[in-house]
């Protein structure tokens, strides 16, 4: 390749690389440096070594947020992934209004989660909410709605699943449609039908898609913030406070930038470890065709 073409390529890449360097890499580096300091916006900063990280271990609020986030991920990731796969298989069939159903399922992903969460909070309100009123007609009480410690976490989980399932469904639809037709035809000739085809053909051949969806779903779950912020504000008594919400409260409200940076890096490491574990798991089950 001529030097001129290489130079032109770098020039084309320059805008994107500049944006990445200024708005992604530089803040990540600054956050890492801050995590070893007691930085605040108004009090300067001084080096405190690993103090912020050792403080994390003893911080009950951090432990609580971590377990809330883990619980949220444990419930929403399988529900979103399995739900998306089921919907993708269903909506890959020739059924009436298939396009409409696909659009309806995908719609929650393209609207602002903050805004729809406000809507959900109203709908689940025991005093004025339509969902609460419907459930009441069947004799089911939502207690105090999203203010109730029994229902707050399930409510934000439900909104998280509702929001993401359509997006993952589209990923799975693309995966299903990329499976070669001859593979399915061969299976049919061998007498495979329904569940057997799904179990032994569709599911294995979707391993790459499943890996992508599971990794993204895990990242989404560990980044959960919007619906907690608007529906419960992390309450009642921190029952729905996630790691990102705690980082926000610590850094933006309490101005403990150094400590919030340490929390952010702990989150980065957790997500990285989980993503690597998922990648290894799915790589061992990868089916090439």
């Amino acid at each position: 390749m001529s030097r001129r073409r290489v130079r032109a390529a770098w020039l084309f890449l320059a805008p994107a690389l500049t944006v990445l360097a200024v708005f992604v890499l530089y803040p990540i580096g600054v956050a890492l440096a801050d995590s070893f300091t007691n930085a605040t916006p108004f009090g300067g900063r001084s080096w405190i070594g690993l103090d912020n990280y050792t403080r994390l271990v003893a911080d009950q609020r951090f432990t609580n947020a971590l377990s809330n986030t883990a619980l949220y991920a444990l419930v929403t990731v399988p529900l979103s992934v399995v739900g998306a796969l089921g919907l993708a298989v269903l909506l890959n069939r020739r059924i009436p209004a298939r396009g409409l159903f696909r659009a309806v399922m995908f719609f929650p992903y393209v609207v602002s989660l903050g805004i729809v969460s406000i809507g959900w909070a109203f709908m689940l309100d025991p005093n004025i909410g339509v969902v609460a009123a419907w459930l009441n007609d069947f004799g089911w009480s939502l207690g105090q709605g999203v203010r109730d410690p029994r229902f707050a976490m399930p409510a934000v989980m439900m909104v998280g699943v509702w929001r993401n399932v359509g997006f993952f469904m589209v990923m799975y639809l693309a995966g299903i449609q990329s499976i070669p037709r001859e593979v399915n035809e061969a299976a049919r000739l061998d007498g495979a039908r329904g569940w057997k085809t799904f179990r032994h053909i569709t599911l294995p051949l979707l391993s790459n898609t499943s890996m992508f969806v599971c990794v993204i779903a895990g990242i989404f779950a560990f980044q959960a913030f919007d619906q907690m912020y608007t529906m419960t504000n992390g309450g009642p008594f921190f029952r729905t406070e996630t790691l990102v919400m705690l980082i926000f409260n610590t850094g933006i409200k309490d101005y403990q930038v150094g400590y919030a940076s340490a929390m952010s890096w702990a989150l980065v490491l957790i997500v990285l470890a989980l993503s690597l574990a998922q990648t290894v798991f799915f790589n061992r089950r990868e089916v090439r065709y």
């Binding site: 001129r4 108004f42 309100d125 009441n136």
Partner: protein
């Protein structure tokens, strides 16, 4: 060759455009002046409610009266939005020249050095003796005056006359025992269905006028000692007061639990709450909802009669130039003038800031007159640097734990007091 040259220059232009977009606009004026002689000051506040038109009108009047000399460029935004934007804006050197915040924020802002003392504003046309003493006291920090009153009021008891009449009641309660008795008569609780169709007395625990602090204090409890040196939340008197209210709310279902101020407003607006403690800004919404209500002082409890003092004040950016400072002083003086405060009180139901406005001058709005008759008002967590953190991290979660049955006051309050002690030091 020609195509390569075009690609080369296109890529270069794109990169240059991106870098230019990332750069600072160095041509913008940073000295606070639009025209040669007009000084523009930025002004942030959170009066988004029914009082917004009155704020806008008074700012317009100021701008018209000082056209060519001073101009107030106002931004009205939701309280949580302003709270999140204010400190980053100050840090970036883009903070407002004048900001209105609650009195509880003063120690935090002053100790961080983002607002400046305004002692000299009081020698510049403002008469301290005519302004609310509670607001002046609340904006003192380190021996200096850091704020000028913007609005001052006290929480009062709203009572729904229609619901009272239906329950065979004719007047607001005059004691806390009577309030609880009335609340039980007004509450329509369906046993077994776990739902309440009508609440006697709505008690929010967050994002609202501090109601729990008033209820505890009325019955002999308190949150911090008078000298602010330790928390009294774990004292026997506070535990007894908390037991009294937890029993009324949880066992007698007089109020939903975990409510925010907006939730409380919605219930009262919907005619589903008999009584509710709030400030004067709520009158607009209640009037709009067609609620027939009365306003009364919060009843005396077994220990004392008290209310929450609500004071928002104007604060001057520590980085304000001399010209901006003069413009701000002119605005402070205008806002607290008898003419402006008469208009303010009549339009919003707030009591006027200045004693230069007589009761007869605001007789056109009897709600403003009523709000000027509050008894024993005190600032919630006033003078504490960590007031906001104490409230959100300790008091609110503890109240919610008590009312959701996660523990008895005797178990939860001493631990909460220890947490507060850690934040006081």
């Amino acid at each position: 060759m020609r195509r390569r040259m075009i690609a080369f220059w296109a890529a270069g232009l794109l990169a240059a455009t991106t870098l230019t977009a990332c750069g600072d606009d160095t041509t913008a004026s940073g000295d606070g002046s639009d025209a040669a002689d007009e000084v523009v000051i930025t002004f942030w506040n959170t009066f988004t409610s029914s009082d917004r038109p009155a704020v806008e009108e008074l700012v317009n009047r100021f701008n018209q009266a000082h056209a060519g000399q001073y101009k107030v460029d106002m931004t009205i935004q939701a309280g949580d939005v302003q709270a999140q934007k204010l400190m980053p804006a100050y840090q970036a050197g883009q903070g407002p020249t004048v900001v209105v915040v609650d009195a509880s924020e003063v120690p935090g802002l002053a100790s961080k050095g983002v607002i400046q003392a305004v002692d000299d504003a009081y020698g510049d046309g403002l008469d301290q003796s005519q302004l609310p003493k509670a607001s002046l006291d609340a904006t003192m920090w380190d021996g200096h005056q850091y704020g000028v009153p913007f609005s001052a009021a006290s929480s009062m008891l709203y009572w729904n006359k229609t619901l009272f009449q239906e329950a065979g009641l004719s007047a607001a309660p005059t004691s806390m025992d009577q309030l609880v008795e009335y609340a039980q008569r007004l509450t329509k609780y369906e046993a077994g269905a776990d739902t309440t169709n009508q609440y006697g007395f709505v008690v929010p625990d967050h994002a609202a006028v501090a109601t729990w602090a008033v209820l505890l204090e009325a019955q002999g409890g308190s949150i911090v000692s008078d000298d602010r040196s330790r928390s009294t939340l774990g004292d026997a008197a506070t535990i007894a007061a908390a037991d009294f209210w937890v029993d009324a709310i949880v066992n007698h279902h007089i109020s939903p639990v975990g409510l925010s101020g907006v939730d409380g407003d919605n219930l009262f607006n919907a005619g589903r709450a008999g009584m509710y403690i709030n400030g004067p800004w709520a009158t607009g919404g209640f009037d709009e909802a067609g609620i027939d209500y009365g306003i009364a002082p919060i009843p005396a409890g077994s220990a004392t009669q008290t209310a929450t003092a609500i004071s928002t004040n104007m604060h001057l950016n520590a980085a304000a130039s001399q010209a901006e400072k003069q413009a701000a002083h002119a605005f402070f003086q205008f806002w607290n003038s008898a003419e402006s405060q008469t208009y303010w009180a009549i339009q919003t139901s707030y009591p006027p800031n200045t004693t230069a406005v007589t009761e007869s001058a605001i007789a056109a709005n009897q709600k403003a007159v009523a709000f000027s008759k509050a008894e024993g008002a005190k600032f919630y967590l006033g003078g504490l640097v960590n007031a906001s953190k104490i409230d959100t991290d300790v008091i609110i979660p503890t109240i919610q734990r008590m009312t959701y049955g996660e523990g008895a006051p005797a178990d939860l309050l001493p631990a909460a007091a220890q947490q507060i002690d850690g934040l006081l030091n």
